[in-house]
Amino acid sequence: MTMKKENKENDEIIPSGITRKDAIKKMGKYATLTAMGTFMILNPKKAQAQSASGGESDDSDDSDDSGNPPPPTGWGD
């Protein structure tokens, strides 16, 4: 029962078009290669809360069809 539920959750397709399983795989690959110093500075607990509101809206508003990342906010000021 639990296995099935987990599989269902992992296969759930989120709006960006990839499954949660894929997303975890992708983040996981580079996250394991990233030096600890980077994570220690970013202090995810506090920084994530701040970036979640600003960062997510940036994604939906500025991404173009080619998949290129949007310009950093404030760029060109």
């Binding site: 983040m27 980077t38 960062g55 290129n68 990342p69 950093p72």
Partner: protein
């Protein structure tokens, strides 16, 4: 020998779009290694910023860009909070008549050295105060928001480089009394900032660009031992590049100071700065001799420093109740089995 990944990192950071692939076969790049290298040097946000600025994201895998974009966004959000807290902290210190100057990454951000505040990764808010304000700062920070771990006040022969690192709201702060450790203060010390402290103002103070240039190089060469093991940090190189100190970046000035000269010789292989330092047989012999004497001095001073510290600790055991209590607690864990500790415990308790 520079790896292809390091060459690409340098080209992305410093070269114009048309020259980024000069001498690089993009198919030979191992993006996992690039991730390891850039993150080790705390350069992921700067890498993303430059990729975006130069419109070269097509050269990188999509998931790579997506990942470093997230890192950049989180870093930018964090730096926004950091700047806000630095300004609040400055107001609080001025309210209590404490003169202070911001240092390192925070000073670079406040001086608008970077095009974007998300580019630079900063660990904490560093600022320097005058020795006379040491107690005042402790009191003010304790009253407002002191989250440091319990420490015992010990007498130090040499002024510590900074007071205890502590959390101010969400970002850690480090109130400095000096710029470098005691053994290195003969090279670079807070006297350099005397004139900056004299300026009467209640606005946020940062040192001049030439001071930030010197501090950045001395920190990497002396504190991080770049002078001894020829280590280079891409974050420091990027800071120097962004500081754009035309006055300091002349061959004459560079040759005048052996630490600055060594910094530029170490990074010469990347060809970032248009500086060609010629070394003669005599000058390289002199440099080697200086390096030998410098390392010997550091070793001797470290040993002396350890013994002075141990001696002062023993003397303070007689006068500092807090310290004696802590020592007793530690001894009490072991004293049942060891005769000497048992003796010390009984002796100190009396």
């Amino acid at each position: 020998m520079i790896s292809a990944e390091e060459k690409l990192l340098v080209n992305v950071l410093y070269k114009p779009e048309s020259e980024i692939l000069n001498g690089i076969e993009i198919y030979n790049i191992n993006f996992d290694n690039l991730m390891k290298l850039a993150s080790r040097h705390l350069m992921l946000p700067a890498l993303f910023f430059n990729i975006n600025k130069k419109n070269i994201s097509y050269l990188f895998p999509e998931d790579f860009i997506e990942y470093i974009k997230n890192i950049y966004s989180i870093n930018k959000a964090r730096n926004t909070i950091l700047l806000k807290e630095a300004k609040e902290l400055s107001e609080l210190l001025y309210k209590n008549n404490i003169n202070h100057i911001f240092l390192k990454g925070t000073a670079l951000l406040l001086s608008n050295v970077f095009e974007d505040i998300g580019e630079r990764m900063i660990g904490d808010i560093d600022f320097i105060i005058q020795h006379k304000d040491e107690q005042k700062v402790e009191k003010v920070l304790e009253k407002n928001n002191d989250n440091r771990s319990q420490t015992i006040n010990l007498f130090n022969v040499f002024k510590p480089t900074h007071l205890d690192r502590r959390l101010y709201k969400t970002i850690a702060i480090e109130p400095h009394l000096e710029l470098l450790e005691p053994k290195n203060r003969w090279v670079f010390n807070s006297k350099e900032l005397v004139n900056d402290f004299k300026v009467e103002t209640k606005a946020i103070k940062t040192p001049s660009k030439s001071f930030l240039f010197d501090h950045c190089i001395y920190a990497i060469q002396i504190r991080d031992k770049g002078f001894i093991n020829s280590y280079h940090s891409h974050r420091s190189v990027y800071d120097i590049y962004k500081l754009d100190c035309k006055k300091s970046l002349t061959i004459k000035n560079i040759k005048k100071d052996i630490f600055i000269k060594h910094f530029f010789i170490t990074i010469n292989k990347f060809k970032i700065f248009d500086i060609h330092i010629k070394t003669t047989l005599l000058s390289s012999y002199f440099d080697k001799l200086f390096r030998f004497l410098f390392i010997s001095f550091l070793k001797i001073f470290t040993v002396i420093d350890i013994y002075i510290f141990k001696l002062s600790l023993i003397i303070q055991l007689f006068f500092n109740n807090e310290l004696r209590e802590r020592a007793l607690n530690k001894i009490s864990i072991h004293y049942n089995n060891k005769t000497l500790l048992n003796y010390l415990y009984t002796w100190l308790k009396l």
